[in-house]
Structures are given as C-alpha cells and as structure tokens.
Amino acid sequence: MSCLKSVPPFQKWDKMNKVIVIDASKCTGCRLCELVCSVMHNGTSNPYRSRIKIKKFEKEGIFLPTVCQHCDSPPCIDACPTGTRFKDATTGRTLMDPDRCIVCQTCTVVCPFGGVTLDPVEKNIISCDLCGGDPVCVKFCETGALKFMEKQKLPQDKRLASASLLVRKRNAGV
C-alpha cells in the first residue's frame, strides 16, 4: 500500500517468511525475552511493554510464551477497520502503521494467540515485528525454547520432534 507511512525499518533480512517458533516444553520461565524485547523497542526494561509474553503457572510448572505468529491470513488484518495492520509482502511479517491506528483494540480481541497487545504506558497497539529480521528474544533465549526458522521448515521440525519423542518413550519402555 503506497499511502502507508512509518513502516518499521527492515534491514537484516536474509530469508523470507521466518517466524519465531516456540517450544513451550523447553521454557523455564526466566522471562529474559520480555526484558530484552522492551529494551529493544522502548529503551526501558519493562516486561509489561514487551511484545512477547510468558504466561506462568508455578504450581503446574507450565510456562507458555505467547507472541505474534505472523499468520498467513491474519484475523487482525481482517478485523482492522482502518487498514492499520498489513502484511509485508517481501518478508511475510504482519506489521502496523501507528499513524492510522484509532486504538479500537479489535485486533487484540480477535488474535487467538494473544499476540497483539496494548502498551500500557503509551496506550498504543504493539505486536512482534521480528526486530527487523534478527529477533533479540531468540538471541537471548538460553534454553532454546524460542527458535527463529522458516515457516516451510516447521512441519518437518514438528515431525522430527514427535518421532524422537516416540523413540524415547519406546526406549524407556512406556
């Protein structure tokens, strides 16, 4: 769209259609990703303003990172009444033009992942922009719960994971 302004910069891209992939079983809930995300985007270390969020369940020991999945047909784009959210044709990212936003927050409601949120300080809509092609949260994730990979490789990766789980179960005699 040619009338869009102030699109986030985009430099270090090497391959198209890469997304942040989450392996919740590896997450230890250290929340370092939240800190570095807010530092990267706002210059303050404030997890409330992070674009990636860890939901913690201490009793059960479950930690679930939630972040924008840059879907192929995003409900947030369909629902946005002002044409604020759009798909970046070259990289497949779901981005937004903050100048057009009226903060109706329809996008936060329709996203099934909870990937679009409201910045509680500046009261504007925020979502993952993949840091222009080199997400800091992935770089700082110590356990490998966050990975940055191409969408096409996803099914292959999942197949490998479930196959190795089967092998492990068989070896353990379950």
Binding site: M1, S2, C3, I22, A24, S25, K53, K55, F57, L64, P65, T66, D78, A79, P81, T82, G83, D99, R100, I102, V103, C104, Q105, T106, T108, V109, V110, C111, P112, F113, G114, G115, L118, P120, K123, K158
Partner: protein
C-alpha cells in the same frame, strides 16, 4: 470479454477487486462508486471530526493503487438500472456498460426518521467523509446524538473533545444495545456521564425544532436545546438496485446470498452491508454491517470470481471500541438475545470487568469493559463452542500444547477459576 463490474467502493467491493486481481491478472475489473474518493475507512470518521486522524489517515487506497493493479475506478457515477438478461448496467447520465459478472457491494444508508425538521440545516448523518467534514465545520455549542451504536457513542465523544456539550438520546433501555446487556451498558453510561456526556435512555425523539437552523429537539419526556443533531438511529441495507433487477431479498431486508456469496441471479454476487448472512454464533439470518465481515465477504467473492470455490463461514459480531481510555468489547450472543435460556457470569478484577453469557454451560458470548487480557481466549472458546466441563478437562490435562494456541490455554486457565 467485458469483465467484472463491481458496484460500490467500500471495503467489500474493493477487497473483492483486489483479491481477484491477486488471483487473476488478466480479467478486466471496473469499480463504480457515487463517492468522490477511493477506499477510505468510515470507522475512523468520528476521530476525523475531533482532529485525531487527518484526511490522509482515513484513506486506505490511493488512486495509484488502483492504477497499479489495473483496476478501473469510476468515481461520482451512479448506476440507475441493471439489465441482467443482456448483462448491462445503465448509468444515470445515460451511458451504459456491459459485464460478464456483477458484484453488488452497494452498502447501507442511514435510516431517515420520519420526523418534522429532519431537513433543517444542522441535522446530520454520519456515513461518508462528506458528512464528517460537514459536522466538523458546523459551528455549534450544544449537540444531540440520536441513537447509541458504536458510531453514535464515538461521535458523541469526538464532539465532546471539541468542547461541545453532548446529549445522547437512545430509544431502548440501554446504550450500545446491539453489543451490551443492561448491566455493562449502565457501567459504560456511568463512564460517559463522568466525562460530561448526558445519556438519556428509554427516550423517544419526537420532533426537531427550528426555523432556519436547528434550535432544539423534543423527546417524549423533555425538550433539549441544541444547535447540532447527529442522527445515528441505525442503518438499512441499500438493496434498491438488487430489488429492481430481480434478486431475492431475505426476510431481514438484505440481499439473499448462498454460502458462495452468489445471489439468486446467475453470475451476480453480493457482499458487504447490503447482504443477509448467517451469524456464526447464533446460526440465524442477520444483517451484520461490520467492517471485518464485509472484508471477509469481499475476499470470498474475489476467490469465487477467479473460479476458486470458497465458502463464507458466517458473520461474527465483534464490537470493540475505545471510550476515554477504556476498552469496550463485545462478541457472541447477549443474554437478552437468548430468550431467557442463558445466564450471565460476572467477573470483576481490578480494572477488568467481564460479563460472560452461558447457555447450558456453553460459552456463547462475552462483553468486557476495561483492560481484558482474556478477550481473545473467550472469542476463541465461543468459536470452538466450548463447554465449561470440556474446558476444565483441557486445562487440567492439556492434550498437546502445540494443538491449541498457548495464549488460549493460559488465559482460560486463569479464567476458569471464576466460572461456575
């Protein structure tokens, strides 16, 4: 080859055109509109009145976008009649244009209340950019907004931000009646009241007074002096063209379409505010008139025009707006719309207030006021037709976390503690 003719340049018609162009680079596409501008958003018009959004911020497409995609946009032209037998559209200025397939995206028009004084200067509707410009430039000190839909409330807020004393007059017993039940609506009324907007519910507008310009309105209970009236008493589907050419009209007054958005006439499609669709949540016929449904319908029409069969899954009624820094959202069925079968669970936590509508333990609707981190999960639960016992099983032993969005499980886990 005479190509595709699309009547209407709203989000539905434009989405249909651009979707088709993505799938088919050859077909000739023509869009006809009686408006002056390319596609702009009408949802931000109230923000335009209060100068929060500039005119450029309203524009979603520029004339160059149409040119680059090879879509012909004919502005300020009105189609007076269509002859489906010879596939020809006649314009009001005497020209005509033949087509292979036709898309009716004629939209809706604001309801003109049959009252005295509707013609007076100072009485406005809010549907087009021209209307918004007229309201913004009209000098006034006191305004009355009739009807309290999302646009009515946002207009009232915009006028208030401009320093105008605003009164909202609503015929029903609550504001935002299509989106909120009585309790959340009263909650919102209080927020508006605290900001200085007078909210009058269960009041009927009788006449608009004035000689040369508006000087006040009379309701069945009182007289309100004002110099500006915005009539937001509802929208009606614009189906006159469709009716004249012989399309079947549904019982709600919208053009009847099948799940491929085809009308009763061959090669004639319809999408947007003017059609009657199935409601995804209630499974009844509805006139949705919401942006996201119009866009999804336009997308379906684009696919079907390109020869790829695509079905429209149904309209979803999602309302979400921001009032003075407070987020109000609503989706699914209201308790007042369940015919007494449903009940409501209220959750109040800090600044987050949620009303969840249940029918037989099944979540069918939700309304929230304030910062609600569970809204997305509730919408997803309604779409999955989730029952509470079923939810509890999922939460206590998740089948496979990768099968469900993690945010959904996380939010539901928090929420389930408050549910019965």
């Amino acid at each position: 080859m005479s190509g595709i003719l699309i009547i209407g340049n709203g989000i539905a018609g434009t989405t249909a055109a651009f979707t088709l162009r993505q799938l088919d680079s050859v077909k000739k596409i023509t869009i006809i509109t009686d408006e002056k501008y390319p596609l702009y958003t009408i949802c931000a018009l109230p923000h335009f009145i209060s100068d929060e959004v500039e005119k450029d911020g309203l524009m979603i497409k520029t004339p160059e976008d149409y040119e680059q995609s090879g879509i012909q946009l004919l502005t300020q032209k009105t189609v007076s009649a269509i002859d489906p037998k010879v596939r020809k559209a006649h314009f009001s200025n005497g020209d005509n244009l033949s087509y292979d397939s036709l898309v009716l995206a004629t939209g809706s028009y604001p309801l003109r209340l049959p009252l005295n004084g509707v013609e007076l200067p100072g009485v406005f509707f809010l549907k087009t950019l021209e209307d918004a410009k007229a309201i913004a430039s009209y000098p006034c000190k006191k305004a009355v907004v009739v009807g309290s839909g999302a646009v009515g409330i946002e207009t009232a807020l915009s006028l208030m931000k401009n320093g105008v004393e605003v009164t909202i007059v609503e015929l029903l017993d609550r504001i935002l009646p299509r989106a909120l039940d009585k309790k959340p609506a009263d909650f919102l009324s209080k927020i508006l009241g605290n900001a200085g907007i007078r909210v009058l519910t269960s009041e009927k507008l009788m006449t608009i007074k004035g000689d040369k310009r508006v000087t006040g309105v009379t309701t069945d209970k009182r007289e309100i002096p004002c110099d500006l009236v915005v009539l937001g008493a509802g929208m009606r589907p614009n189906v006159s063209l469709a009716k004249d050419m012989g399309c079947t009209i549904g019982e709600t007054g919208g053009i009847k379409v099948d799940e491929y958005m085809k009308t009763s006439i061959n090669d004639v499609y319809a999408c947007g505010d003017c059609v009657e669709t199935n409601d995804m949540f209630t499974n009844t016929k509805t006139l949705s008139m919401l942006w996201n449904n119009a866009k999804r319908q336009g997308n379906v029409v684009g696919y079907n025009l390109a020869g790829i069969a695509k079905k429209f899954p149904g309209s979803e009624n999602i309302t979400s707006l921001e009032c003075l820094g407070v987020h109000v959202s609503s989706f699914g069925i209201l308790e007042s719309g369940t015919n007494g079968k449903g009940n409501t669970v209220e959750i109040h936590r800090g600044s987050c207030h949620i009303w969840i509508t249940l029918i037989d333990d099944r979540i069918v609707g939700a309304q929230s006021i304030g910062e609600c981190p569970y809204a997305h999960a509730l919408l997803y639960a309604i779409k999955r037709k989730e029952s509470i016992p079923n939810l509890k099983t999922i939460i206590s032993n998740p089948p496979d976390i990768s099968l469900l969005p993690p945010g959904y499980i996380a939010s539901m886990k928090r929420l389930i503690e408050y549910l019965p």
